[in-house]
């Protein structure tokens, strides 16, 4: 059994640092090339967000590799133990110590963002208002009841539960105050709705002449359009409201938004498959969107959105444009893109904001300065010593 001292020696060794860094190099290269086939999101999940990776080499040959999470975790320990706690303290290592502290701050920023941050987007047509933003990758099913006073009451089936209804699996959701059971099946992360023709058969349910065709995950995961079969079964099981829900209908590219609706005992209900929503502590309304192009080109010189931010009684007009986001506590909204891409002059436009909640938003900037100062001190010291030694040699 190795002694504690031996473990500490190992964890603080240059050898461990070098090995981790070389594995990180390898993972970076492999993970980058993997983006060609898996897309950015897929490669990130497989290589950088994972603890272990099984890498295909040639044919059936597979090689296990440490994933990004594992490497960064060990690197952080190695850095703290070897680069800070056990670092020999002298004026010659001041710079190294500072640089290592900066890297720790940088890793901490990444950790906080990964575990406590969220990001997504918000697409709004001119005149529209919202107090939420949506995930790029995750979906949810909203069950909405129209209350007599005109308000909407909403409950959600989260993404994890939707994943449980994939393929042949079927899941049933019940609640005491729901006048029906909700059966979900055939969930697809990426799908296309097709009309069922008379000349062919399909092995999935057909609803109102349409069925859900599974599609492989898109290389750009943001382009996935989820789909699911949903059936609201009234007590007794005699009345069934069958629906085919498809994510496209709630996307900004869709020209209309039409959730599946049905009535039970005079109450109106709706089912909507949409990208997972995160609440914002304020709401924004898009008043105007403008895109300008460099003359005689299709190169955008600027695009910007005039918005009004509502927070309680505070109404604040603002412009969000490239490199000038809207900041509100931990939330930041960036001008990301716009549409429709083939809009005619005068056509109503929608604007897309990237929305991020990141408690460690500014930490990398501070870390950058700390690392720069540390490295500068260290290398200037080294250069000074080198020049002095060369000068001595020249004199000799």
């Amino acid at each position: 059994m190795p002694s504690l001292a031996a473990v500490v020696r190992l964890l603080s060794s240059f050898g461990l640092t070098t090995i981790i860094l070389l594995f990180l190099c390898l993972l970076t290269v492999v993970g980058t090339y993997a983006q060609e086939t898996l897309g950015l999101h897929g490669a990130q999940k497989k290589y950088f967000d994972a603890w272990f990776v099984v890498q295909e080499v040639i044919g059936p040959v597979r090689v296990p590799l440490p994933g990004g999470q594992l490497l960064l975790a060990v690197l952080a320990i190695n850095l703290v133990v070897g680069g800070i706690l056990r670092l020999k303290r002298s004026k010659n290592t001041v710079g190294i110590l500072i640089a290592h502290l900066g890297i720790v701050l940088l890793l901490a920023a990444g950790f906080v963002k990964y575990y406590d941050g969220s990001d997504g987007y918000l697409a709004l047509y001119e005149g529209e208002q919202a107090n939420y933003f949506e995930s790029h990758y995750e979906w949810e099913l909203a069950i909405t009841r129209a209350l007599p006073d005109g308000r909407l009451e909403e409950r959600l089936v989260p993404y994890e539960d939707l994943l449980g209804a994939r393929g042949d699996r079927r899941r049933t959701f019940t609640a005491a105050d729901l006048p029906f059971d909700l059966e979900l099946s055939g969930f697809q992360r990426n799908s296309m709705v097709r009309p069922k023709g008379p000349m062919f058969e399909v092995d999935v349910p057909v609803v109102d002449g349409f069925y859900l065709e599974p599609r492989p995950d898109a290389v750009e995961a943001e382009q996935n359009l989820a789909g699911v079969y949903a059936t609201a079964v009234e007590p007794g099981g005699e009345q069934r409201h069958e629906a085919l829900l498809w994510g496209f209908e709630s996307s900004p590219s869709s020209s209309y938004w039409a959730p599946f609706t049905f009535e039970i005992d005079g109450e109106r209900w709706a089912l909507d498959l949409r990208q997972k929503r995160f609440a914002l502590p304020f709401s924004i309304q898009v008043d105007d969107f403008r895109a300008e192009f460099h003359p005689r080109t299709m190169i955008a010189s600027t695009y910007e959105s005039s918005i009004t931010k509502y927070e309680g009684d505070v109404v604040q007009p603002q412009i969000i444009r490239m490199n000038e986001p809207l900041r509100h506590d931990d939330y930041v909204m960036y001008q990301s893109s716009y549409g429709p891409s083939n809009a005619r002059p005068g056509q109503r436009m929608y604007t897309v904001f990237a929305v991020v909640r990141n408690p460690s938003d500014q930490w990398p900037k501070w870390a950058c300065w700390v690392i720069f100062i540390g490295l500068a001190i260290h290398f200037v010291q080294k250069l000074g010593r080198h020049i002095r030694s060369e000068a001595k040699k020249a004199v000799a």
Partner: protein, 662 residues
């Protein structure tokens, strides 16, 4: 991609219109009798043109048009006369019949000629042809181009891409040859009383005169079309309407014949219009009832004067001066085109090409100094030559910054001269500190290789490399701070690798065998360059993340370019920790630095060729050279392994030193 298809469609439709136009123009002179006067060429060169979102001198537009067709910025006439791009453009404008015979259209693969039924004219697989030679295949070429322009760019085969290139070259040639069609056009009055009243005492009028009155003529025509005015017989009204219609149609077709450059800047009367006008657009705007600024009419009239006389005639120079003043005046009034003269000078004095030549010369001097005699003097000459080359390079970079009012790097081309300059400068500083005659040849070599790459890239890309930037890059602060840091890191990484080559090759071939101080000195230089690389790569990479966080809301997105920069940081940190841990010494450090070259090349070029991510340029033309580079560095690393084995063997065979006498 959509825009590419739109442009191709526009080219095709314009070409169809061009081919329909014949009426109303006098024949251009057939051949030029004397060389172009340099003063005339210089004045034409400085005319403003709006192209690709920016105002540039006509000279720049001509240069890139010729490079796209010819692969070079100059061409030869059948008589062997070498023409600059501007002279070629002037020949195309003023002597189109002669310009048609210039072999300026490069065909990369003769398969394209086979496809358009011109197998009989094939000279060799890759050759240049004249417009006249290729013209018989134009109909088939147009059909194929229409077909291929519907295909997404990424899905085009090589031959299809080359067919579209050939079509573009043919179209641009014809556009130039028809460029002054408007200036030669004459519109007869016929029997029109309205025209006779508008232009009293004239048998025919010029394009500029019609342009000036086209709004009024159009109004009369519209009135006649609606009905017969009081006091005029129906027959007279119909005759008048037909006469006016003929003139207006001819005016329209003459205007659309050339396509041409957007040289006419809107004046203050046209609010909120940032796009300049071509002759065709001017005619359309005027016919649509838009006011025609007097400056446009005067400039067009000046071109008509030039088209009507020989360049040697005194009236030509006067008209050219008038056109120059009017066009520049229109641009200046809008606050545009203030650096046209500087840009003309930049291409005229060609500091980048001069620096390439001087670096080559410097490297030759270094090589000569290795031979022995006069080494001291040759080293001094080398120092001077390389310093001069670096000075030219820095001057060129500075001129490009001033012309664009931007930091040194906004596109991938810009990174090449910048990295070359930083690498060379750093090598000279190392040589100045160490005086070991190692970094000086490296400086000359890096300068030569870098500027050769810049030259080849520029010609291969064949596009204006001072283009406008996209919205997200429209921030000089981040362009300065992040891109400059990263590129400096690249430069230092490449410098470390270059010096390391000397270590490995020197050891392998027994250069200064036994001189430990020499080799430890080289290793220290490599170490210093790696440290230099690391600090800039780390700071640049983090600043890139900070910029991304400011602009897009995420510090790190695992984008291929970000990963490339990260890899440089990781690799260099790994080297330094391996060195500190004693796992590598001098030789290991140098081998790692050589492999670092491959890392830098991957980060600089490799990830851009993947066709994915935010920094993707999707080009693969230089992929072979890149893989060759990886291969060379791999072999060099293996040679480092051979050196290690040889040294180990040698140390085994060397008897241990005898103990010193007490």
């Amino acid at each position: 991609m959509k825009s590419l298809r739109c442009v191709a469609g526009w080219l095709l439709s314009t070409a169809l219109v061009c081919s329909a136009v014949t009426a109303g123009a006098s024949d251009p002179p057939r051949a030029r009798s004397a060389a172009w006067d340099p003063a005339v060429v210089a004045q034409f060169a400085a005319l403003p043109v709006q192209e690709e979102g920016r105002v540039k001198p006509l000279n720049t537009a001509a240069k890139w048009m010729l490079v796209r067709q010819n692969g070079l910025s100059s061409c030869k006439t059948p008589s062997g006369e070498r023409l600059s791009a501007m002279e070629w453009l002037l020949d195309s404008w003023f002597y189109p019949e002669q310009a048609r015979t210039y072999e300026t259209i490069s065909v990369t693969d003769s398969v394209v000629l086979d496809a358009i039924g011109l197998s009989s004219i094939v000279k060799k697989k890759r050759a240049r042809y004249s417009y006249a030679e290729l013209e018989p295949g134009l109909t088939r070429l147009r059909e194929l181009a229409m077909q291929y322009s519907e295909i997404e760019r990424d899905d085009l085969s090589t031959t299809q891409g080359q067919t579209l290139d050939l079509w573009r070259s043919m179209h641009e040639s014809r556009m130039l040859q028809n460029g002054l069609h408007f200036a030669r056009a004459r519109f007869p009055m016929g029997n029109s009383k309205g025209l006779s009243r508008t232009f009293p005492g004239r048998d025919e009028v010029r394009f500029s005169e019609i342009l000036d009155k086209v709004g009024a003529l159009g109004a009369v025509y519209e009135q006649l079309r609606r009905g017969t005015p009081d006091g005029v017989s129906d027959a007279d009204a119909e005759a008048e309407r037909q006469a006016l219609e003929t003139v207006l149609l001819e005016f329209n077709s003459v205007a659309s014949a050339g396509g041409g450059f957007a040289m006419l800047a809107p004046d203050r009367s046209i609010e909120g219009d940032s796009a300049w006008f071509t002759i065709e657009e001017v005619a359309f705007a005027a016919a649509s009832g838009r006011d025609v600024p007097p400056g446009w009419v005067a400039a067009i009239a000046a071109f008509e004067e030039m088209a009507a006389s020989e360049p040697s005639a005194p009236g030509f120079a006067v008209a050219l001066g008038k056109a120059h003043d009017e066009l520049r005046g229109l641009a200046t009034a809008r606050g545009e085109g203030q650096r046209l003269d500087l840009e003309v000078s930049f291409y005229k004095w060609a500091p980048m090409q001069w620096s390439l030549g001087l670096f080559v010369l410097g490297f030759l001097f270094v090589a000569l100094s290795w031979l022995g005699p006069g080494a001291r003097l040759l080293r001094k000459i080398t120092w001077s030559t390389v310093l001069l080359a670096l000075g030219m390079l820095i001057a060129g970079i500075a001129m490009r910054c001033i012309i664009r009012n931007r930091p040194p790097m906004t596109g991938i081309y810009d990174t090449i001269p910048f990295i070359t300059a930083v690498g060379t400068l750093a090598a000279l500083v190392i040589e100045w500190i160490n005086r070991r005659r190692v970094a000086l040849p490296v400086a000359a070599f890096l300068g030569m290789a870098g500027m050769f790459l810049a030259y080849r890239y520029e010609l291969g890309d064949a596009n204006d490399n001072m283009k406008r930037v996209v919205a997200v890059l429209d921030t000089n602060f981040w362009l300065w701070i992040h891109v400059t840091c990263i590129a400096t890191g690249y430069a230092a990484g490449l410098l470390a690798g270059a010096i390391a080559h000397i270590y490995v090759l020197g050891k392998l071939f027994g250069l200064r065998r036994g001189d430990k101080a020499f080799y430890s000195g080289i290793a220290r230089m490599v170490y210093g360059a790696i440290c230099f690389c690391l600090i800039f790569a780390v700071v640049g990479t983090i600043l890139g993340g900070v910029w991304a966080n400011e602009s897009w809301g995420r510090f790190w997105g695992w984008d291929p370019k970000e990963n490339g920069a990260l890899l440089i940081c990781l690799w260099n940190i790994a080297i330094l920790h391996a060195r500190m841990g004693g796992y590598i010494r001098h030789l290991g450090l140098c081998v790692a630095a050589i492999l670092g070259n491959a890392v830098v090349a991957w980060s600089w070029w490799g990830v851009n060729m993947m066709g994915i991510g935010l920094h993707s340029y999707g080009f693969t033309d230089g992929a072979v050279w890149l893989y060759l580079g990886y291969g060379v560095e791999g072999v060099m690393a293996l040679l480092g392994g051979v050196v290690w084995l040889l040294e180990r063997e040698r140390s085994r065979m060397t008897p241990p030193a005898a103990p010193a006498n007490p």
